[in-house]
């Protein structure tokens, strides 16, 4: 019983949440129950070697006790003595007795009263009592004794054999009863134990369904969680059968390929939309799947193109999944889109390459001023190798007197300041000091925390030299422009005048205003005289169209009203990036040249006109020259042409500006040159004849002289001719007077000569002409307004007027 309880306790206290384990214990417990015979075996061993039977002897007489002891002495019995009823009750409390031998007559509580007490007690009610007495040997006492519960009633002196027999019987009875009780107890324990086990089993059966439901729910939740992770991850996940056919793909993977699982499930993995847009990818994947099927885990990066052909870089792995026997039952490919990381790495690499190849010295330092990177240009600038300075404080580059700059700059960097073009001095490895310009920027980590600074150092000694060079070349350029005889001005991209030279100011006749745009001229016109707005002038057009012009013409009006015709050569100026930044215009004043050209054109026309006129005159002279004989005609005609030619010579010599009177006379009387001054007297003031008057007068003088030589004063050896002219007021008079010649006869025919000297003279001079054939000699006199014969450009010259009197 105790053992069963103990087992049950063990069962109950088995601390396991695993129902399987619990069931195993339970079955183990059942097995233990099956092994219960151990307790029966124990009972068997009790029977084999019986425990002594307790016998209580109650007697107030020690002699009686000794007698009874002597009778019952032996190993079968343990005799317990009680001298009184109290002692007997005490013994009964302590031990269990097979039989009680009770003396009736005892002081105090008698044997009969004790028997009644014993029978009233439940525990002892069934203990057989044998009364023993020497005094009450009658039936009345015997009945009283039986009533009190005695099983027997023996009288003293007792027959030892009967007593031994009776006690032996009761002892045997007790032993059997004990064995039965023992067996009953064992049976009961077994029954109880089984009942308990059944109860537990029932209880377990009752909760099993709930547990299965709970477990299923738990499993479902766990699967859901896994599924959520599976579908929620950005990673692409697939499950493949060992032959490489697709079983599962998670949401990320399906979204990448823009397909659904049903359309791809069962297809060979390498023949799915993930790989079909990327040449070669299918082969790679087929091989990877085959190796995974053989148990090998692989991981590599590959380029994949989605349906929209966007290239992604995928970090992909293939893992085999084994069963307990080590066979590959699944292949699990998983991929992570690392495009942005790859791009970032590329960008970082590129940036690093840029920094390394930069012509600017670039170094970086941490917040303690320790150099972390040092590029090639920095090596060249400072003379240190990168490995010499990396890990050293940046102050190794500081001259002694600038060490204080380190902490100051670091403090500014820590505050997140950017430092632009900080001009300072740094020291090279060889001790040379450099003028440099520093640009320092904080370096931040991904969380935006400042972790250091980058420094770009530029050697500005070179820049300063270059600047000086630029200034010098600019100065030379300006000087050169200033010296140019042509007008030059420059404008910026918006047309503001940025520079102009002296010749420009001279041409424009003004100093340009702030508000002027595109040209230094005050007002501009096209060559045809129409107004030309400044914003449409050549420079503006060139800059707006980006095309330089060559020699376009326009007119610039100065504030004083003078207009200048110019050709302009606007040139577009660009910066190194070919952006238009302004322009330069060179203006040439071609007003004079143009005027000359016009004059030449005019002159050519005039020459044209005059030569045609002369030809016409020649034609007319030829017609008018009377034909006597061919020889005579030729002679007369040629001398008349010579007359024209002589006058013409004079006109050409004077540039057609008129002919001095005396020069004309000398030229026309050249045949008579030796006579001039003696037989031919020329008298008159200096007088500038107009071109046409000179031509006409030349012909008249020729005809008069020819006539004189043929018929008149010059036909003999003594005749004289006076040629006088004067113009005292605005009337011009010229006279030809012959004397001393042969007697003059009025010609009967009016020939070419008389037409010339009379009609032509009147007509040409618009004056009066008198021709008198007096016997003393021919007299010719012409009077006309001086203006008709005077060269208009000539001035009166009065110094010789009237110096000699003339015959009228």
């Amino acid at each position: 019983m105790v053992e069963t309880t103990l087992k049950s306790t063990t069962l109950k206290s088995a601390p396991s949440s695993d129902p399987e384990v619990a069931s195993i214990r339970r079955s183990a417990g059942r097995a233990d129950h099956g092994a219960e015979p151990r307790s029966s075996a124990g009972a068997t061993s009790v029977l084999a070697r019986p425990a002594p039977i307790n016998i209580l002897i109650v007697d107030d007489e020690p002699r009686n006790l000794a007698v009874l002891e002597a009778i019952l002495e032996g190993p079968r019995y343990r005799l317990v003595h009680a001298g009184s009823a109290e002692q007997a009750l005490l013994a009964l409390l302590v031990d269990e007795f097979a039989v009680l031998i009770l003396d009736i007559r005892m002081p105090g509580v008698s044997g009969l009263e004790l028997a009644q007490i014993i029978k009233e007690r439940k525990k002892t009610a069934n203990v057989p009592i044998i009364f023993l007495t020497a005094y009450y040997n009658d039936d009345k006492h015997a009945i009283e004794g039986y009533d009190a519960g005695a099983v027997d009633y023996l009288l003293k002196p007792v027959n030892p054999a009967i007593l031994r027999s009776k006690v032996g019987m009761f002892a045997e009875l007790h032993r059997k009863q004990r064995a039965v009780e023992e067996a009953n107890r064992a049976l009961l324990a077994e029954v109880l134990s089984r009942r308990h086990a059944e109860e537990q089993l029932r209880e377990l059966n009752d909760t099993l369904e709930q547990r299965v439901a709970d477990r299923t729910a738990l499993l479902h939740a766990s699967t859901q969680r896994l599924r959520a992770i599976y579908d929620g991850t950005f990673e692409f996940m697939w499950l493949l059968a060992p032959d490489g056919s697709l079983l599962e793909a998670n949401r990320s993977a399906l979204e990448f390929a823009r397909c659904d699982l049903t359309s791809v499930a069962g297809r060979p993995f390498w023949d799915t939309p993930w790989f079909k847009f990327t040449p070669g990818a299918g082969d790679t994947v087929r091989e990877a799947a085959a190796r995974a099927a053989a148990g090998e885990t692989q991981r590599f990066e590959m380029q994949l193109h989605g349906p929209a052909s966007e290239a992604r870089t995928i970090d992909i792995s293939f893992r085999p999944l084994h069963d307990e026997r080590g066979r590959v039952i699944l292949i699990v490919p998983a991929g992570l889109d690392i495009t942005s990381r790859v791009l970032a790495e590329q960008a970082t690499n590129r940036l690093a390459a840029v920094v390394e190849s930069s012509d600017d010295a670039i170094l970086s330092k941490d917040l303690n001023g320790i150099i972390a990177t040092f590029n090639q240009a920095a090596e060249q600038l400072f003379g240190y190798k990168a490995e010499e300075v990396i890990g050293k404080p940046v102050t190794v580059l500081f001259p002694v007197d600038r060490q204080h700059e380190g902490p100051e700059l670091l403090a500014r960097i820590r505050r997140g300041e950017r430092i632009h073009h900080f001009e300072t001095v740094r020291r090279c490895k060889d001790g040379t000091l450099l003028d440099i310009s520093l640009t320092i920027s904080p370096i931040k980590d991904a969380q935006g925390k400042i972790i250091g600074a980058s420094k770009i150092a530029r050697d500005i000694t070179q820049r300063k030299l270059a600047e000086a060079k630029i200034h010098e070349s600019e100065r030379r350029f300006r000087e050169m422009i200033a010296e140019l005889p042509a007008a030059v001005f420059t404008v910026d991209g918006e047309g503001r005048l940025t520079h102009y030279n002296r010749a420009g100011l001279d041409l424009a006749g003004r100093i340009p205003l702030e508000t002027d745009r595109w040209c230094i001229g005050w007002r501009l016109y096209n060559v045809d005289g129409s107004a030309l707005p400044h914003e449409e002038s050549h420079m503006a057009v060139a800059i707006k169209t980006g095309v330089s012009l060559q020699g376009a013409e326009m007119v610039i009006e100065r504030p004083d009203g003078a207009r200048k015709l110019v050709t302009s050569y606007p040139t577009v100026m660009r910066d190194e990036k070919e952006r238009i930044v302004g322009g330069l215009n060179i203006l040439f004043d071609i007003t004079e040249r143009k005027r000359n050209e016009e004059r030449i054109t005019l002159l050519l026309n005039e020459v044209d006109h005059r030569s045609k006129n002369i030809l016409s005159v020649v034609q007319a002279i030829a017609k008018q020259t009377a034909i006597s004989t061919p020889d005579e005609f030729l002679k007369r005609f040629s001398t008349r042409l010579q007359t024209l030619a002589a006058s013409h010579d004079l006109l050409v010599r004077s540039r057609w500006q008129g002919v001095e009177m005396s020069d004309l006379m000398h030229a026309q009387l050249a045949h008579f040159a030796p006579l001039i001054g003696n037989r031919i007297r020329l008298d008159g003031p200096s007088f500038q004849l107009s071109a046409s008057a000179a031509q006409t007068l030349g012909m008249i003088v020729h005809e008069l002289a020819t006539n004189a030589a043929k018929y008149g004063a010059l036909s003999n050896d003594s005749g004289q001719v006076d040629v006088c002219w004067h113009a005292p007021t605005d009337v011009f008079t010229i006279t030809w007077t012959e004397r001393g010649g042969p007697s003059v006869v009025m010609p009967n025919r009016r020939g070419f000569g008389s037409i010339v000297v009379k009609t032509m003279a009147e007509s040409s001079f618009d004056g009066d002409v008198d021709l008198d054939f007096t016997p003393a000699g021919l007299r010719w006199r012409a009077t006309c307004p001086a203006a008709n014969v005077l060269d208009k450009s000539a001035h009166w010259s009065d110094n010789t007027i009237g110096s000699t009197g003339c015959q009228r």
Binding site: N605, D608, H609, R610, S611, K612, N613, L615, S616, V617, V618, Q619, A620, I621, K623, Q624, S692, T696, I755, T759, M760, S763, S764
Partner: protein
């Protein structure tokens, strides 16, 4: 009745020559005039049927004469020493003869004008 031809030419010899040619052909000469003023005076005083105008009258042109002739509805012939093809507007489509003009051309031009006018 003979044709009255106004001759305007500042060069006497040419005027003489033209006049003689026209006279020989039976024309009556008005002028010759060697200036604008004189020519306009002659047109006003005696009129003409047709005129022969030299372009350049030594400092002035025959433009005003041509205008006057158009006003009075008389045709004219231009005599020009210039070789240019360009003709000022006041020529108004008149026959232009180059100097020196062949006699035949001059007479043909005058006859043409007269025929058109009548």
């Amino acid at each position: 009745m003979s044709v009255r031809v106004l001759v305007v030419e500042d060069e006497f010899m040419i005027a003489l020559d033209i006049s003689q040619q026209l006279t020989d052909a039976g024309c009556e000469i008005v002028g010759p005039a060697k200036s604008v003023t004189k020519a306009l005076g002659l047109i006003a005083e005696s009129g003409c049927d047709v005129a022969v105008l030299d372009v350049n009258l030594g400092g002035e042109t025959s433009e005003l004469i041509a205008q006057k002739l158009q006003e009075v509805g008389k045709p004219f012939i231009i005599l020009s020493g210039y070789s240019t093809e360009e003709q000022p507007p006041w020529f108004n489509g008149a026959t232009v003869l180059r100097k020196p003009p062949p006699a035949a051309d001059l007479l043909a031009a005058v006859r043409g004008c007269v025929a058109t006018a009548s």
